[in-house]
Symmetry: C2
Subunit: 441 residues, 2 copies
């Protein structure tokens, strides 16, 4: 994909809220999601975000506003998940995005001819319920930030923080698909086995070390047949788009259970994702070089190395984590920023994760979700989890209310944001990925 007409910074929309400074959804973004109007007997369907509204794509079809190449992807937008659209691939989504861009921009012929369409195709976001964007067949989670791997590794293995495979293998593991929930869903504090004293048996109690992980979620578009790989130079064509992902983690459960087969119940109680999927096309202006490996690091093996991916396989996405405590809600205070990281610090590119995942012939399917792993950079303020931010609880965070946090307390809300900025281009955002902790049963 390349930068095109839909990315032009001077485009504005007749949906005025799309021009609000700081809006996540200007006309240059147009992410896809699944919505229905609350309290109505209607089926969920595909919409695109514009300002504080949702474009009901099925309504646009019914109005005769979508023709040509975009008609096929638009027809698939009647479904209650994005899977059918994802399966069609980036060119189809791109043609749909272009039609929406034409329809929504100032000067749009359709709008000039009949301004009444705004009432008929737009739904205010406050009237809508957002669903999971896709039926997620499989969810895999990676570990692509070397700073995160080094931080966590140094807590568990001070003399050997980074294992020898890290610089060769985009390390990942399978996650739980059933417990992925959309932003806004409460998360119950899980109970699990923890062992606080190595000389005593473990106990089965509510976790005392509940954490979040700030990740990017990557949705697969067209899949691959089982037994065939995805060459790295095709990997982007298998990616539909990205969202925010909170990989909630019970650190004490994880420490006790994770050997030798990896995290299981420490993660499987809930994973929260943001409802809007930002297409690869919308991200095109914010591409960046892949991580530059320091001298001494090996080059990726040939099947994970492609010159174009090294040059522009990264994405300049800023990722922020806020916490809102019960006290903040009571005092009507703003949530507190606890970290700000950058996806450019990731050791492995999205294309490398996809190519690696399918390199053994594992079949990826449209709607499958990949987590990037916690996005942490070299600075303290960029660490995307509390275990890193508070260094396993040894350096508690002081919040603006004066409250201290090592791990999450009941009533804490974790709110994630993401955005891309580049001079000469519009700012686009990801919307919100939030969840509040409710007490253990």
């Amino acid at each position: 994909m390349a930068i095109n007409e839909t990315h032009r910074a001077d485009l504005t929309s007749w949906v005025e809220s799309a021009q609000t400074p700081g809006s996540d959804f200007p006309i240059q973004n147009l992410p896809f999601g699944i919505f229905k109007r609350a309290g109505r007997a209607e089926t969920a369907r595909v919409g695109a975000a514009i300002g504080d509204h949702i474009v009901d794509i099925s309504a646009c079809v019914d109005e005769g506003l979508i023709t040509g190449a975009a008609a096929v992807p638009a027809e698939r937008c009647r479904a209650p998940t994005l899977n059918d659209l994802m399966e069609l691939g980036g060119d189809a989504a791109s043609s749909l995005r272009r039609v929406l861009s034409d329809l929504l921009r100032v000067g749009s012929l359709a709008y000039r001819n009949d301004p009444g369409i705004s009432r008929r195709v737009l739904v205010p976001m406050y009237e809508a319920e957002m669903r999971l964007p896709a039926h997620i067949g499989d969810y895999s989670d990676f570990y692509a930030s070397i700073d995160h791997a080094r931080n966590v590794g140094s807590m568990l293995r001070p003399d050997n923080p980074l294992l020898p495979n890290y610089r060769y293998v985009p390390v990942g593991y399978h996650g739980r698909a059933s417990s992925i929930v959309p932003s806004g869903t409460h998360v119950r504090r899980p109970t699990g086995q923890i062992r606080e004293d190595p000389d005593e048996p473990p106990t089965f109690v509510p976790t005392k070390r509940l954490d979040y992980e700030m990740e990017l979620g990557i949705f697969i578009g067209p899949g691959n047949a089982q037994g065939s790989a995805i060459p790295i130079l095709n990997a982007d064509r298998h990616v539909f788009g990205v969202c925010l992902l909170n990989d909630w983690s019970a650190r004490d459960v994880q420490a006790w259970e994770y050997q030798p087969l990896g995290p299981f119940l420490a993660k499987s109680f809930a994973t929260t994702i943001s409802p809007w999927v930002i297409t690869l096309e919308a991200l095109e202006p914010y591409r960046a070089p892949a991580y530059v490996r320091p001298d001494g690091d090996p080059a990726p093996l040939p099947h994970l190395l492609w010159e174009s991916d090294q040059r522009r396989g990264g994405f300049d996405i800023t990722l922020e984590v806020y916490v809102r405590t019960t006290a903040m809600r009571q005092r009507r205070q703003d949530p507190a920023l606890v970290s700000r990281g950058h996806f450019t610090t990731m050791y492995w590119t999205v294309a490398q994760l996809v190519a690696h995942h399918a390199s053994n012939g594992c079949n990826l399917r449209a709607g499958d979700l990949l987590g990037s792993g916690t996005v942490s950079g070299p600075e303290k303020e960029s660490r995307g989890s509390l275990i890193e931010r508070t260094w396993r609880g040894r350096e508690p965070l002081r919040l603006p209310t004066g409250e201290m946090r090592t791990f999450l307390e009941d009533g804490d809300e974790v709110i994630m944001h993401g955005y891309c900025e580049r001079s000469g281009f519009a700012r686009i955002g990801f919307g919100e990925c939030s969840g509040m902790i409710i007490p253990a049963l």
Copy 2:
């Protein structure tokens, strides 16, 4: 569930092949699966195995042969997966199984009145294609044989084979759902990163240590809501039935990738399951005590301990692995038996696996699949994987052809069988779980 009329050893069926000695599918079994007749434009649907035939349950409904409480579950048998039937729970499946038992037994009123029904409701197995029994939302794999864990652990950590969590935590990890295939599907040798020399970089080559793992697959029936647990005394009600499962594994890939997040590409290229799901009710006569922990082992924590589960949470299932090489096929020789294990040797019961899985509030859904982990007992001959059977290749197996095997070669077919026998009851079997290795791309 209890032993009832359907288990009586003296029951015989008017489907004569059900009485063939050694048949896996006598009238006491009646497992469910998904079939369609090959080469016909018809949709796949639910059938029950009887001898060398399949009872087409939708055809029985159409013939008016299924009434009463069984009508509801029978109506769900028109679906192309068992999920809708699984969701209804064991009592519904039991009522359907009783009606089928009545219908198929010698003396059946319906058959006496109209022997023509045999033509209209039975499909010969050789005319049918079997599909995956369910849409598998999530697949989790456990590690419930202490002998397997000790064997593999002692190869990787000779001084510390069993980690301290093993006797407390039914260790498990998430597996890949997309690459689960039905018995008979060829399995392509995966390519992956392996590091043979610790002083050299890894290489990306076809695996040299391709292995199988003989496991029991456990299908979930009714699920649990996210955030709620499944108490161990209810766990059986959430299990629909079991099948055979081959957790194909690339040992060299696994050794290099598995730290710190567990197996990933070493397993995700393929998992094969047998097509017939043996219901918990059919297994009732073969229940056995849970593993008796030796002195010094801790008792399970209270949430994993239930007196009735200790007394009868095990299943006396014999599990056999055969290998058929290209040379055997050419010489028309029988496959060679390479191991015979017993599910009674498992350290954790099925109910404990289910209760543990949901103990953090993770939602299980109808059709989810749990692997038991490799079933290995204390004797060499009972080890359910080649890495154990040949002790990491150090003790090659001599096959009846004179061929030697450390790991699997291209053209090797791995064939798994399972059966239950108990004096005073019929022998019931699991059918076949097979797959042949085809060369890497």
